[in-house]
Amino acid sequence: MAISIEDKSEGKAKKDGENVLLDVRNLKQYFPVKKGVLQQVVGQVKAVDGVSFRVFPGETLGLVGESGCGKTTTGRSILKLTEPTSGEIIYKGQHLEKLSPRGMRPFRREMQIIFQDPYSSLNPRMLVYDIISEPIKIHHLAEGKGVDKRVYELLDLVGLNRKHAKRYPHEFSGGQRQRIGVARALAVEPELVICDEPVSALDVSIQAQIINLLEDLQNELHLSYIFIAHDLSVVKHISDRVAVMYLGRIVEVAVSSALYAEPKHPYTQALLSAIPEPQVSGMKKQRILLQGDVPSPINPPAGCHFHTRCRFAQEVCSREVPALKDLGNGHLAACHLAK
């Protein structure tokens, strides 16, 4: 099953292997379900079940999917905030999955994360100055007065000013707090930033500000992003390529414009048809309604995870796991029927 996916991506990776920043291969993250007094493991939540993708320098890879499909867990596994069950995480040719917490430390400078909730992602008892200067001190990126200078630089970079340094997080609005979170992530001068739904907790008007900030920073600092979101229009705007996830697996990867113009996977089609659009009178957009709920990740359906809700499902779909096939121009889809 997942082996075929791995073969595929490995084949691809070899072609342009030099240029890959992050290569995730067949990543799995299972969480045990424990029951009873003896805490016996009675099952596993397959939050991420064989995910493979690559991120190239300077690009933004969008990761979309509905709640509970494993997008956030994927992001956290890559940073080893949760220890992945299996799979490979290769950053600039180095395998991260085997590294101890100590061995991971140099890579903490290279990969950072911006969190969804700007209210819980900042320590309420720390001054903004301490929040931003801590990573600088931990990684010895500056000494003495240099730390102050760097903190002010970072505040300036994210559109705050030095007066804000001596305040506590509760004195800021959601948008400002998210800027502080961005400044903290950038303090270590990372190359790859995992944005875990960075705008979904914000007002729509502020979402645009933060998105623009992220784009400006990308151009200025040559960052790569993994942009996790469930808002398809936000992802379309910011991403170069988009990967769609369903129940712990990637079902489709393509260049943003291609994916939105011509989705190949039935799930992506359904997902895209759900984007609300202003309607011209008389023209009714056809909406694909999926039947039923997302199956439980504890006991996902055999074969293609999506076959229980797919309009086109055939007998083969419940039997064989579809591999991510290249349908031309780097458009990959995991569907037996996609052409």
Binding site: I138, L160, Y168
Partner: protein
């Protein structure tokens, strides 16, 4: 929920619509500590408790200047004097020692025991609770089962046993009391840490490569200070009571040193002839413990007005 969910919403009333990171600073808001202090001052019981405790602390500190007599001076010619006998304001005991002076010097012992036991046991409890809550797994199971075991032993008898084996020096008394009273704090801190461990700022710290030890001591403990302080305060009262009980049983403070519990023990023999001898130290214990508890409750409701006062388990479970 973080350890101190104070002042979230009303305080974030900030400057600019749309959260524009404009140059204009938000109006200066009161610090969290300042708000808590104001709420504390509005609580009459807490303020009264603080005044009483401060009074006793001052008395203890200056006992040697206030006391008219040496508390250990024996004068059998003036034994068992009643209340208001000339220079001996509160009378004398069976050996002719001045009761007033003895009360003053006893406050030193009681307060010293109270504060140091609270400090040491909070330190131990916080450390163990923090490590358990943060690391979880085997470490957690180990320490929490240890807590369960200690909680299921009648601690009064454990204390008596240990004092009987090792003898009763002042330092040993503090150590033994501290070693048998950290469990409540450990449970409390563990619970708080279990919550804090899941917060995104802790994850952010991990993602930045912060060491576990620094995350515990720098990021998490400061968010758990509120329940710790409340518990420490309430524990002072418990420790004073424990010391009194052990001294009453003759295992705590030994003569010529004196403590309220020991005075109570002495007074026991004269309950019928001079009951006031028992009233003075008893009243002191009552007032100080009550004051400390009022302060604890006051701090609790000042730093977290929404939560009900949560009392720690009383020592010895009766």
């Amino acid at each position: 929920m973080s350890g101190i969910p104070i002042g979230e919403s009303p305080l974030s009333g900030n400057s600019l619509p749309g959260g524009n990171p404009g140059p204009e600073p938000a109006p200066r808001v009161m610090s969290l500590g300042g708000m808590a202090w104001r709420r504390f001052l509005r609580n009459p019981f807490a303020v009264a408790g603080l005044v009483v405790l401060l009074f006793f602390v001052i008395v203890a500190l200056f006992a040697r200047f206030i006391a008219p007599f040496d508390p250990a001076r024996i004068d059998l010619l003036t034994s068992n004097l009643p209340f208001g006998s000339g220079a001996h304001i509160l009378g004398t005991d069976e050996l002719g020692r001045d009761i007033f002076s003895r009360l003053l010097y006893s406050s030193q012992v009681s307060l010293l025991v109270g504060f140091s036991v609270a400090f040491v046991s909070v330190f131990i409890g916080t450390l163990i609770g923090a490590v358990s809550g943060y690391f979880g797994g085997f470490v957690d199971t180990f320490f929490m089962r240890m807590v369960d075991v200690l909680n299921s032993v009648p601690l009064l008898f454990l204390n008596i046993l240990m004092l009987a084996i090792f003898g009763s020096s002042f330092v040993l008394l503090i150590c033994i009391l501290a070693l048998t009273s950290w469990m409540g704090v450990a449970r409390l801190v563990r619970g708080t840490f279990l919550q804090l461990r899941e917060t995104e700022y802790v994850e952010a710290a991990k993602a930045l490569g912060t060491s576990d030890w620094r995350i515990i001591t720098y990021h998490m403990i400061r968010n758990a200070t509120a329940p710790i302080i409340v518990n420490a305060t309430l524990m002072i009262g418990g420790a004073i009571l424990s010391e009194a009980a052990l001294s009453f049983l003759g295992l705590g403070i030994q003569p010529p040193q004196t403590s309220w519990g020991q005075m109570l023990s002495n007074a026991q023999a004269y309950m019928l002839t001079d009951p006031l001898q028992a009233v003075y130290p008893g009243l002191c214990i009552l007032v100080v413990v009550l004051a400390v508890n009022f302060i604890g409750d006051g701090i609790q409701s000042a730093i977290d007005p929404r939560r009900k006062v949560r009392r720690p388990r009383r020592r010895w479970g009766h």
